[in-house]
């Protein structure tokens, strides 16, 4: 995919010695054919006349005709779909022997499932699902009800999936995913696919009943023609077809009910998801029967086969569409195996089920936690797109809650806000846009997400400054104390604190995703944990401020009857949410100091390089944070200052890991109804315990035993490493 320009306008070129001749009124057209012809004689194969505008884009766009690695127009087997059909590549019916016909259709169904999963996993539709010749000519199958209804529901399903992914418009991998030009996605009558499918399903279930019925009753049912001719296989084939048809039906229902506005179809979708999973199970179990009754044994290994029977399916040719997949060079696409495809759909359905069982919580903070938790299982594009279109519809949360009301709830704004003019403020509106963008970004894949989060940090910083200025202008200078008298000022203050809190949350997630994406090398861990530590301190501070402010409101409300002096006398407790962050802070600081001490005393985890220093690596890793002043006054120098004097002797005296462990232990009871956070606290405890022990060992024997090797692993937590000490 090098087809996009790399060079912008030929900047990297050595300046041409001859100025280009401008075409204008004075210029005269002349025939240069003979000149060109003469010049051509001088050119040998592979040479070119080097023009100023010849850039990498042009170079990489050049194709060598008839080179199979580049020329997607090379005719492989058939020149066209029609030629393939004429040559009998996709007969209807597949065989006049009805048993073979049924076998072949099941193979087609299975191979299509494998193609569909391959498409979802990032290959083009044209070279996967639409490598099926039957799908490409919708009318040809009309005489064959079973094949016809299956092709229809496949096309309708593809359309529904493309629709959700293109509505999500995340611009990550979907430009290839949604590319469907030249493909007959809208077969005539495809919208009636369900009723046709139901009719076929009904027929086959009657055939199944008939073959299972005792011979006495058979006479009554005699008017029912069996599915195929071999009565020993009738039951097996009926069952194999039924679970495949029912899976398609329920899957289509899942996709459509999930798209109902404001999440109204989620409950129904869950029922269909459960049905899909049980049909998938039947499909899987049908494999033994299909393999044993298959006509030919497969030359493929079990891991490669794309059908349950192991037979090669009839009617597929991936090369037919390779010209449609231009501008990419032709590639042989590796279709997922049938087993892997079934696994993929199981995962997809589980991911969709998590979305459907979500309570549509109106609290923004919990939405964020849900999305982050959801992303931990690395859902694929289709599931993520569904989550995104559920979260953001018509510019509202779940298509239901206006963004300003989401913000005011999240920022704990006082009740008066509901109809307050503040929501019409230009920058408050922009803030709403940022919130929507943030939600969308959090639904994208980790690699893309991190890049986008890095970029929006600046926007969040800027909106904070703009809001601050706008509020100042409107409500006058803000005092530090939130006074009862000025509601506007109070609103402004709350919003500003909340914006800062979100900014640091985004920054923290940005840093954290770096671990997930393996962007940091061990010699950089020290500065990364240090940066995490300073960001977390700010995040905890802002979260605390927000909670104090909201408590303030709550107190004032309930205070009216009581004596206020009693309230202030009550001893103050740090809220659990802040303490939760506090354990992260302890771990980050503990790891920073342990790594710093290892560098200072053991001279490990340093990486001198010939061309630059750690300073440059620091700038590069945290460039986006630094540009947005997150936090203020932080530089490589401050990192050096806080780590240069780290020594094991002092670390053991003040053990950060012990603090983390203690707080985590105490906090568990506060989150007893939140299993995700309890699990996180447990992980934190484990990391803290391991590192506490490691710290003691290094301290006790480290200076005596030079063969001591320390490495870091992420076996207990995705971004907090544990130190592993070994004697080499």
């Amino acid at each position: 995919m090098a087809e996009r320009a790399i060079e912008d306008g030929g900047n990297g070129f050595e300046s041409p010695s001859i100025a280009p001749i401008p075409s204008g009124e004075q210029s005269v057209w002349a025939d240069v054919s003979s000149l060109l012809e003469a010049a051509c004689d001088d050119l040998r194969d592979g040479e070119l006349i080097h023009g100023e505008n010849f850039n990498l884009f042009a170079a990489m766009s050049a194709l060598e005709i008839m080179d199979p690695k580049m020329d997607s127009g090379i005719v492989c087997r058939y020149y066209s779909v029609d030629e393939a059909i004429e040559n009998g590549a996709a007969p209807v019916p597949l065989s006049f022997d009805r048993t073979i016909d049924v076998q072949c259709i099941i193979d087609i169904m299975d191979h299509l499932l494998a193609c569909e999963a391959t498409w979802h996993k990032g290959q083009s539709l044209a070279q996967t699902v639409f490598s099926c010749i039957y799908l490409l000519r919708p009318d040809r199958t009309s005489s064959h009800a079973l094949l016809h209804c299956y092709c229809r529901i496949i096309r309708a399903t593809c359309k529904a999936v493309i629709s959700v992914v293109s509505d999500a418009r995340t611009h990550e991998e979907e430009d290839l995913f949604t590319m469907a030009y030249g493909l007959p996605l809208n077969g005539d009558g495809d919208e009636k696919c369900l009723s046709m499918l139901n009719a076929v399903e009904e027929t086959i279930s009657r055939q199944l009943r008939a073959c299972k019925a005792p011979s006495l009753k058979k006479r009554v049912l005699e008017d029912i023609e069996p599915l195929q001719t071999n009565s020993d296989l009738e039951e097996g084939y009926c069952k194999a077809l039924l679970c495949r048809l029912r899976f398609r039906k329920h899957f289509y229902h899942v996709l459509t009910s999930m798209r109902r506005p404001q999440g109204r179809g989620l409950e129904l979708a869950r029922k269909h998801i459960a049905s899909c999973l049980s049909e998938l199970d039947c499909i899987r179990r049908s494999s033994d029967f299909l393999r044993s009754s298959a006509c030919n044994t497969s030359e493929h290994g079990v891991d490669d086969r794309t059908t349950a029977s192991g037979c090669q399916p009839i009617g597929f040719d991936a090369t037919l569409n390779s010209r449609l997949s231009a501008p990419t060079p032709p590639r042989a696409i590796r279709t997922l195996s049938w087993e892997k495809a079934v696994e993929y759909f199981e995962k997809l359905l589980h991911d969709l089920d998590i979305i459907c069982s979500y309570s549509l919580d109106p609290l923004f903070e919990r939405v964020l936690r849900f999305v982050v938790q959801f992303q931990k299982s690395q859902p694929d594009l289709v599931a993520r797109a569904h989550l995104q279109v559920l979260l953001v519809q018509d510019g509202k949360l779940y298509g239901r809650d206006p963004i300003f009301s989401v913000i005011s709830r999240a920022a704990a704004l006082p009740e008066v806000t509901k109809n307050h003019d503040i929501q019409k403020n230009e920058y408050v509106l922009q803030l709403g846009q940022l919130v929507i963008n943030l939600l969308k970004i959090l639904c994208t894949n980790a690699a893309w997400q991190r890049r986008k989060l890095g970029k929006i940090l600046q926007d969040w910083r800027v909106i904070h400054v703009q809001l601050e200025l706008a509020f100042k202008k409107e409500f006058g200078e803000m005092s530090i104390i939130i006074s009862d008298e000025n509601v506007c000022m109070k609103l402004a203050k709350h919003i500003l604190i909340w914006v800062e809190e979100q900014t640091y949350w985004v920054a923290f997630r940005f840093l954290m995703l770096g671990f997930e994406l393996e962007l940091y090398s061990p010699s950089e861990y020290c500065m990364v944990y240090w940066y995490m530590y300073v960001v977390l301190i700010k995040l905890a501070e802002k979260t605390h401020l927000k909670m104090v402010a909201s408590n303030d409101i709550a107190k004032r409300k309930g205070k009216k009857k009581r004596d206020s002096s009693k309230d202030t006398a009550r001893d103050y407790q740090i809220p659990p949410a802040v303490l939760f962050l506090q354990c992260h802070i302890c771990l980050a600081e503990g790891l920073t100091m342990m790594l710093a001490a290892l560098r200072n005393e053991h001279k490990v985890f340093q990486s001198p390089s010939p061309f630059n220093t750690e300073d440059e690596r620091f700038i590069q890793h945290f460039e986006l944070l630094q540009k947005a002043c997150i936090p203020d006054h932080i530089s490589y120098l401050s990192f050096k200052e806080s780590t240069t004097y780290a020594r094991f002797s002092t670390l053991v005296m003040y053990n950060y890991f012990k603090d983390a462990q203690r707080i985590a232990k105490e906090l568990k009871s506060s989150f007893s109804n939140d299993p995700d956070r309890v699990a996180e606290l447990r992980r934190i405890e484990q990391v803290a315990e391991h590192n506490g022990v490691a710290l003691n060992i290094i301290c006790r024997v480290g200076s005596l035993d030079p063969s001591l090797k320390v490495s870091f692993e992420f076996s207990h937590h995705p971004y907090f490493a544990i130190a592993v000490v070994k004697r080499s």
Binding site: R4, G12, M60, R169, E173, Q430, N612, Q626, K627
Partner: protein, 203 residues
């Protein structure tokens, strides 16, 4: 792309001093580079892609010879990119029997030196996340993994964008105040041009 050597092909007896490094010297070197890259990397490049690099930046391309046989090469470019003058390492190949002897390091170091002397502020490249050999080599030279590019190569493998920043005398980190943007990020931000190239590192 295969990265390291042991076992695959019998390693050749080579003294470091036996390896001769030369800057791109003209048309006679072009087929040598093309054959090496073609053999070791999966992506198809037309002759024009090679010409683009070696004609514009011959001083950034190097070849390694052992007793007259070309065993490694590096192909690079440099130019203005979003207000920075940056170098780009497009292809780096050392044939299997010669790997693990520092030939790739020497080749790429020579290119980086020329880039630095020519006023580049940074050097970038992409490498497959599975290419441990390349990642370790560039890590030793001071490159960081700036970002991960999801399914960057058509074989479905992610890539890392690696970056090497040269020291600067002065660094300005003041907050550039952006004018508010009307358009949303989700819609305006397409893949930046440089991210759609897919040049490889095979070593």
């Amino acid at each position: 792309m295969e990265t390291t050597n042991e076992g695959e092909t019998a390693a050749v007896e080579v003294e470091a001093s036996d390896i001769e490094y030369v800057s791109y010297g003209g048309e006679h070197h072009l087929p040598l580079i093309m054959r090496l890259v073609d053999e070791e990397l999966s992506e198809p490049y037309s002759i024009f892609t090679y010409r683009y690099f070696v004609y514009l930046w011959p001083h950034l391309s190097f070849l390694a010879f052992h007793r007259g046989r070309c065993v490694g090469t590096v192909v690079c470019k440099m130019g203005e990119h979003r207000n920075t003058f940056r170098g780009y390492i497009a292809m780096l190949v050392v044939i299997k029997p010669y790997r693990g002897r520092g030939i790739a390091t020497e080749l790429v170091t020579r290119s980086i030196k020329v880039m630095m002397e020519s006023g580049c502020e940074e050097v970038t490249l992409e490498a497959e996340v599975t290419n441990k050999g390349a990642l370790a080599l560039y890590g030793r030279l001071g490159f960081i993994r700036a970002k991960r590019l999801f399914r960057y190569y058509l074989n479905g493998v992610d890539a890392f964008r690696l970056k090497l920043l040269f020291p600067r005398p002065e660094i300005d980190l003041s907050l550039p105040m952006m004018a508010s943007r009307d358009d949303s990020h989700m819609h305006t931000d397409h893949i930046p041009p440089e991210e759609s190239s897919e040049l490889h590192q095979g070593l």
